[in-house]
């Protein structure tokens, strides 16, 4: 038909018949790429297909994917959360400080860290929802603020047992073994715990976003906030919730990271933000949904992980990693939007 308007009212929809092959490639292009890559690496390097290696890939991407899931929720509500990397770094430092300096046990530490993450999310939503600072700017501010804040308690140093403070005192606490289990143990000696955590979180979040009415409302707010408000959606609460959830997931990522590394490294969180965003954006192309979605983000993170792992096995130098991630991201974005002209 002729009189068809896109949401913005500008672009004309055309019913030009598309090659079915192209349509299939569009719908499952990312999956096909993933399978293709796995097959390719398996042929060149049979060790790639070993369960330990595949699970290792999942373990390596679990933190990134958790951050990506938080970003996914903030994107779905029409926002943008740049502060997740800093939040994860802050969480690592908080976990280290609580245990090494204060001598806290695993349970109160995890609880504290998750609270810190939720508070950072609450702070973001205060800026964005109450003070009406644009999301991008508000979370950029939080990125710096939190990124800087996490350095202050330890005087800019990494936190490890035996570290000395400026006043000469030393920290004698240790990372609780129960805490380290979170990052280092394997279920049945095979499946790393972070992978289980990611799987569980992703499943619950998928049901929440795709099947429960609150997920619908979150997407509705992201699609058209005014329309959602006029349809009775509690838009302020939903937007705040999205940022709190994003902060919470980022701090959960931080917990896993701290438990894996076993020290409060000031260098953590470096590329977590970019990697998380890359997963979420590659996820737009998965199933060709063109929107942030939980399954897509997880697949996006895995795709990047498989590629990096495979290429490392083939002796690709480490400094090519960012270039490869960029190529995958650009490629999948092109795939997502190109086929919808």
């Amino acid at each position: 038909m002729s009189e068809i308007m896109s949401p913005t009212g500008t672009r004309q929809h055309s019913n030009r018949a598309r090659l079915p092959l192209l349509a299939i490639a569009g719908r499952s292009g990312i999956f096909l790429t993933l399978i293709g890559l796995i097959a390719l690496f398996a042929i060149i390097q049979p060790l790639f297909l070993r369960a330990a290696n595949l699970l290792g890939i999942l373990e390596a991407v679990s933190v990134t994917a958790l951050l990506g899931l938080g970003i996914t929720v903030s994107l779905a509500v029409g926002g943008f959360d740049l502060s997740v990397g800093s939040t994860a770094a802050m969480s690592v430092m908080t976990a280290a400080y609580a245990q090494v300096v204060w001598g806290w046990g695993a349970v109160p530490t995890v609880f504290l860290v998750l609270c810190v993450g939720a508070l950072i999310g609450l702070f973001n939503s205060l800026l964005i929802v109450v003070l009406r600072v644009p999301d991008l700017l508000a979370t950029l501010g939080t990125l710096f603020l939190v990124g800087g804040l996490q350095l202050i308690p330890s005087g800019g140093n990494s936190i490890a047992t035996g570290m000395t403070f400026a006043d000469g005192s030393t920290a004698n606490g240790i990372f609780s073994p129960a805490f380290l289990v979170l990052g280092r143990s394997r279920l049945w000696g095979l499946v790393p715990l972070p992978v289980i955590v990611l799987g569980f979180v992703a499943l619950v979040l998928w049901v929440f976003m795709e099947r429960l009415r609150w997920g619908r409302l979150i997407y509705a707010v992201g699609g058209n906030e005014l329309a959602a408000h006029l349809a009775g959606a509690p838009t302020v609460r939903l937007r705040s919730f999205a940022y709190v959830l994003s902060g919470l997931l980022a701090s959960l990522g931080g917990v896993l990271l701290a438990a894996r590394v076993g020290r409060g490294d000031i260098m953590t969180g470096g590329s977590l933000l970019q990697d998380g965003f890359a997963s979420a954006l590659i996820g737009f192309a998965v199933l060709n949904l063109r929107r942030p979605n939980v399954l897509g983000t997880v697949v996006g993170a895995i795709l990047v992980g498989v590629l990096l792992n495979g290429l490392t096995m083939l002796n690709a130098p480490y400094y090519t990693q960012d270039f490869i991630k960029g190529a995958v991201l650009v490629g999948s974005l092109a795939l997502t939007y190109r086929l919808h002209r």
Binding site: I4, R213, L230
Partner: protein, 510 residues
């Protein structure tokens, strides 16, 4: 300067999208200084024909000729180059808000590089003033474009078209967002175009516009020309040709004076200085508020829906005080509102989860239709959508169709379906017939008349003709107060239309 004796003609234009034939050998010719109205229901092919003439889309077959010579219209710039200028129906597209009015008048020249490299503000003003004078626009040229009213934006857009000395100007629903008085200004400008020998192709759903301005009407249906009408225009016949059937006045309900008012406004002020509004709305009746833009129609509806609070006064609803704090509260209590401009107030972009037809209908009802643990009630949602598609005759590919694939009239049916999906006590509709063809408008009004008589319906529209067709009772608003209250009867429709239009016009003039 182009010679005056040029005829712009389209010959045997054929265009199809996929398997659907949108234009089937359409030929039209517009003489210099002639205003031709292009009529047709949504989906009849009007917009496609306009896009072909404007160089937005190429025809599959057929040619466009100016003064007998075929021209190639491969891009909008090419069309403008040979003298065919179109003014888009989207008001938002008519100019750049951050630039001055003067710069907007020169926009085509500036963007097309047909200006000196050094362009001082003084020179811009001087050139713009010349254009404004030709078009007899009396505006503050250095002021930002964003300060202009919708009507003045349209006028600036048309004046811009003027400056290029075109052969033909295409106006695609230019009055859709304008009040009666503002439309008058537009018509004066169109008269100027005529005097200068410019051909005008005019598309509008409003019969009153066509009566005022058109020299000739061409009616399209299913991609073919089904009728041509010269002055004096027989709009009844044109309308019949357009939708392929007779539009009967919808049967009115009997007098409902006996019914008790469900909603009462006592001394309501919509603005600090606004007159007091006292009003009683009766269930089972369709009450239409009309008046010029900015008269407070939307404010009245939004006040009842909890979007804004009144400055004074009280509202009672079924004998209880009614002062909802938010739309969510209003919806809980059975007061529903469909806002003006469906893409802004009702729909989400098609990539959004739940932006399909069924999801759009379901959005306000998610809680009511949810299954245990908050799972979305997808079967309820689908059943509601299927029911609506049948009941309102929504033309679509199914309950999961994308809304941007539907015509304006069908989109509006989805909006109504959303708010009829659960019983309401008060249904508020703001400009529900905007960009809706006559056939769909008829369907919408019929669906409103079939509603449970325990519900009151309050519609806001700035189009008097729409008001006449839908209303059991017409209220006229001006400056946030109600100045007239008519109960429609069997009187001559046109005579009343004229008097109401004068009244609405007077409301602005005063």
């Amino acid at each position: 300067m182009h010679p005056i004796s040029t005829v712009v003609a389209a010959r045997n234009i054929t265009k199809s999208f996929g398997s659907s034939l949108v234009l089937d050998g359409v030929s039209i010719a517009v003489d210099p200084g002639e205003v031709v109205a292009l009529m047709g229901a949504n989906g009849a092919g009007k917009s496609t024909l306009v896009k072909i003439l404007a160089g937005v889309q190429p025809p599959d077959r057929g040619t466009v000729e100016i003064a007998g010579r075929p021209v190639r219209l491969s891009t909008p710039a090419a069309a403008r180059g040979v003298g065919i200028v179109s003014v888009h129906q989207q008001v938002a597209d008519t100019g750049i808000g951050a630039l001055s009015i003067a710069e907007n008048l020169l926009l085509d020249d500036i963007c097309g590089g047909r200006v000196p490299i050094v362009l001082t503000p003084a020179r811009i003003l001087e050139r713009a003033a010349r254009i404004a004078e030709t078009a007899q626009l009396d505006l503050d040229l250095p002021a930002p474009f964003s300060t202009l009213s919708l009507a003045n934006r349209q006028l600036v857009a048309i004046a811009r078209a003027f400056s290029g000395r075109p052969h033909m100007v295409i106006l695609d629903e230019p009055t859709a967002s304008l009040s009666a008085v503002e439309s008058q200004k537009l018509f004066t400008l169109i008269d100027k175009l005529k005097q200068r020998g410019i051909a005008v192709l005019f598309i509008s759903h409003k019969l009153a516009d066509l009566r005022r301005i058109a020299d000739r009407a061409i009616v399209l249906r299913h991609g073919r020309i089904v009728g041509e009408f010269a002055r004096p225009l027989d709009l009844g016949a044109a309308t019949t040709a357009m939708i392929g059937r007779q539009v009967d006045a919808a049967p009115r309900r009997g007098p409902t004076q006996s019914a008790r008012a469900s909603l009462e406004l006592h001394g309501i002020r919509l603005r600090v200085e606004a007159p007091l509004i006292n009003l009683a709305i009766i269930p089972g009746e369709i009450t239409v508020v009309t008046g010029p833009l900015g008269a407070g129609k939307t404010s009245l509806l939004e006040m009842l829906f909890g979007v804004r609070q009144p400055f004074a006064g009280t509202v009672t609803f079924s004998d209880a005080p009614w002062r909802p704090s938010s739309p969510a509260r209003a919806i809980e209590h059975g007061v529903f509102m469909a806002g003006e401009d469906r893409w802004r107030t009702s729909f989400a972009p098609s990539s959004t989860l739940g932006s399909d037809l069924a999801g759009t209908i379901a959005l306000p009802h998610l809680r009511a239709w949810a299954r245990p643990f908050g799972f979305v009630g997808r079967s309820t949602e689908l059943a509601a959508a299927r029911g609506a598609i049948g009941r309102l005759a929504i033309v679509c590919r199914g309950p999961r169709d994308r809304l941007d694939h539907l015509s304006g009239g069908n989109q509006q049916k989805v909006v109504l379906a959303r708010w009829q999906a659960r019983p309401s006590r008060l249904l508020l509709l703001d400009e529900p017939f905007h960009g809706v063809d006559l056939g769909a408008r008829h369907d919408l009004i019929e669906a409103l008349r079939k509603m449970d008589p325990s519900a009151a319906v309050l519609i806001a529209t700035s189009d008097v003709e729409e008001a006449m067709e839908a209303a059991d009772r017409i209220l006229i608003m001006r400056e946030h107060g109600i100045v007239a209250d008519h109960r429609t009867g069997q009187e001559n429709l046109l005579a009343r239309l004229a008097s109401l239009e004068t009244l609405a016009a007077g409301a602005v003039g005063a």
